[in-house]
């Protein structure tokens, strides 16, 4: 186990190193003035240019510049956004919780719906529940999520008026941002309308969560179904059946445990897809998260912001994947023996 952890840790270091190299090179790849891309300051005069050049070590070797870059990143100095003039890191700190909140609820929804559906589909293989679930999954798998979002907005917001169209909470409520997670903030806030505010926040959450959960749910259903079908064909299941176990005993005690192990890993891997899809969802529902901010930064050619946003999002994706793999190997001893880099 220790060797395994060390190997994973070295891989993680390697990945973060590669990511930092990539982000570092971005400011050279982006069009525009290098100094502006790095600092986010435009129209600087001679003395300030001299100061900045000294700060970013532009006259020294690339290695020196890279070391300086690492130092800045770890100190939280991620440059200044060209469009807002504020610190990029501060933006990310405020906006990221909104995205994570949305992703976590979507992930929970997809796990709660996806895994049972996948199991049912495998247990009733090639009978009507399976056919129904598989067809619906195929439809959900193929639907472009921005179109799904628009359809839902058309029916539930414009025609029926059940849900609000944008934002995280109604303008009537003023919530102090403590953790930047809306539901937590409401609980922590100190005013008499907890219930109403909570309900309002849930109303705002409903549509984005459904839209975001659609794709991972279908992936989980398909994956669970395949994994379950694979396990149900194994010899130990046949033996158990020959012993005279009932179908329910067979599924609950023998098939599920083995079938759900790879699913756990898959759940973690969904996080990276979720973060990307969250960008589109946030744009449509005007959700004040890091995805919408990143897309806006691309429109505005706000290079320091793009760089910072990409670094934050990619780092998060890598860490989430690593956590998924670790938790998977904690539960499944066989997977630890696989040497890394071998497939």
């Amino acid at each position: 186990m220790r060797e395994y952890l060390l190997r994973r840790l070295s891989l993680l270091t390697f990945m973060l190193f590669a990511l930092s190299i990539f982000t570092f090179s971005l400011s050279y790849l982006f069009p525009g003035e290098l100094l502006t891309n790095l600092s986010g300051l435009t129209n600087s005069n001679y003395t300030s240019t001299q100061l900045l050049e000294a700060k970013y070590k532009l006259n020294e070797s690339l290695l020196q510049q890279y070391i300086a870059f690492l130092g800045r990143i770890t100190h939280g100095d991620w440059g200044i956004s060209l469009s807002s003039g504020e610190n990029v890191f501060e933006h990310i700190r405020i906006l990221f919780p909104a995205t994570i909140e949305l992703c976590v609820y979507a992930l929970i929804t997809s796990v709660v719906i996806g895994i049972p559906c996948g199991i049912i589909s495998a247990v009733y293989h090639r009978r009507w529940p399976d056919n129904l679930i598989s067809s619906v999954t195929m439809l959900g798998f193929s639907i472009p999520i921005f179109w799904l979002a628009l359809l839902l907005i058309m029916t539930f917001c414009l025609t029926l008026g059940w849900f609000p169209m944008s934002g995280r909470i109604g303008l009537l409520f003023e919530i102090d941002a403590v953790t930047n997670f809306m539901l937590l903030d409401i609980l922590l806030a100190d005013f008499p309308y907890h219930g109403l505010a909570f309900q309002d926040a849930l109303h705002h959450l409903a549509l984005p969560t459904i839209v975001l959960a659609m794709y991972p749910t279908t992936v989980l259903i398909r994956f669970t179904r395949d994994s379950m079908l694979h396990v149900l064909e194994q010899n130990f299941i046949k033996t158990a059946r020959a012993k005279g176990l009932s179908q329910a005993q067979l599924i609950i005690h023998h098939a599920l445990r083995n079938a759900l192990l790879p699913v756990i890993k898959q759940i973690g891997l969904q996080f990276s897809t979720l973060i990307t899809l969250a960008m589109i969802t946030e744009v449509i529902f005007s959700w004040p998260g890091v995805g919408r901010w990143l897309i806006d930064s691309i429109y505005q050619r706000d290079y320091p912001a793009i760089q910072g946003g990409l670094l934050a999002v990619s780092m998060f994706v890598i860490l989430a994947n690593m956590t998924a793999e670790l938790s998977h190997s904690l539960l499944d001893p066989i997977s630890r023996n696989k040497a890394h880099g071998k497939i």
Binding site: F141, F146, I275, T276, I295
Partner: protein, 297 residues
């Protein structure tokens, strides 16, 4: 359950014709194949058969609903948008951009993916390990995010989108093809082949490729459905095709402001996108299922 075969019928038909025979029995996949073909034909001949030009404006017919609606006009089968442009013509031409370019992007990806994947499959030792680490990193980043990063560097635009999608899909492709090649290389018949004195190139050409090209087609369909979704999503986010271009995602984004008064201008491009992705997925899934069934025979 039990796999008894009471009458084991001898079947000497070629693998491909057995494949087609099984595929025909899967009706959804067959329907998917027909839609796929129709879209492919449309993508090629759309500029010739569309009733009006894509930017031809009819100032007498602004925001006309589809012709089955009471206020509709049969001249404009699917209605018009706010500039009086025929929605049908624009959507037909959209097939060239969204579907046609996706096919091109997926083909380019497959081409490079097969070459690089085969090389990756043949390398061993430290180079292979390094390559795998590199692939592992890029695999964890979803294709759309990677495409957005590349667009951020290259700048928005339709051709940039295609390149971005090719680059974004490539790691996944190389990985899958590498796996196929390695799997095939470990089989006994390849060892026998090698003992007979076959060189590397001969093993690849006569031993591996005839056995994996069907799988490559399946990988191609997966790449294609991702490519369609990504091109449309980037068009929708205004990072890909820019408005006068009739890319379906871009049409959707352009008409977003009309969602209240002209919902058909938003709904119809989405229907086509959905159909294109669905058809591709149906064909891919059907093919994968058939390959699995044929192996089981």
């Amino acid at each position: 359950m039990a796999k008894f075969k009471l009458y084991s019928e001898e079947s000497n038909r070629s693998p491909l014709s057995r494949l087609w025979k099984k595929f025909k029995r899967n009706h959804p996949a067959l329907v998917g194949l027909w839609i796929f073909m129709a879209l492919l034909v449309l993508a090629v001949i759309a500029p010739v058969v569309s009733p009006y030009g894509i930017n031809q404006q009819h100032s007498d017919a602004l925001l006309l609903p589809p012709s089955w609606h009471d206020a509709g006009n049969v001249r404009f089968l699917l209605g018009t948008d706010d500039l009086g442009r025929d929605v049908l013509s624009r959507l037909m031409n959209g097939a060239t951009y969204t579907f046609g370019l996706s096919v091109v992007a997926a083909l380019i990806t497959t081409f490079f993916g097969v070459i690089l994947g085969t090389f990756a499959g043949l390398t061993r030792g430290i180079r292979s390990s390094f390559l795998n680490h590199l692939l592992d990193i890029t695999l964890t980043i979803p294709s759309l995010l990677l495409a957005i990063i590349i667009i951020a560097i290259l700048g928005p635009g339709l051709m940039n989108t295609v390149w971005a999608i090719v680059f974004a899909l490539l790691p996944q492709h190389i990985h899958s093809i590498r796996n196929l090649v390695v799997q095939e290389l470990n089989k006994d018949y390849i060892t026998a082949f090698r003992l007979d004195g076959a060189n590397q190139w001969y093993i690849i050409r006569r031993g591996i490729f005839p056995n994996i090209y069907e799988q490559i087609v399946v990988i191609f369909t997966m790449a294609l459905s991702t490519a369609i979704l990504d091109i449309a999503a980037l068009g929708f986010l205004k990072l890909g095709a820019q408005p006068p271009v009739t890319e379906w995602g871009a049409i959707l984004a352009e008409n977003l402001g009309l969602i209240y008064i002209a919902p058909w201008t938003v709904g119809l491009p989405g229907v086509l996108l959905f159909l294109a992705v669905l058809a591709t997925n149906l064909v891919g899934d059907g093919l994968r299922q058939v390959l699995k069934d044929r192996k089981a025979d």
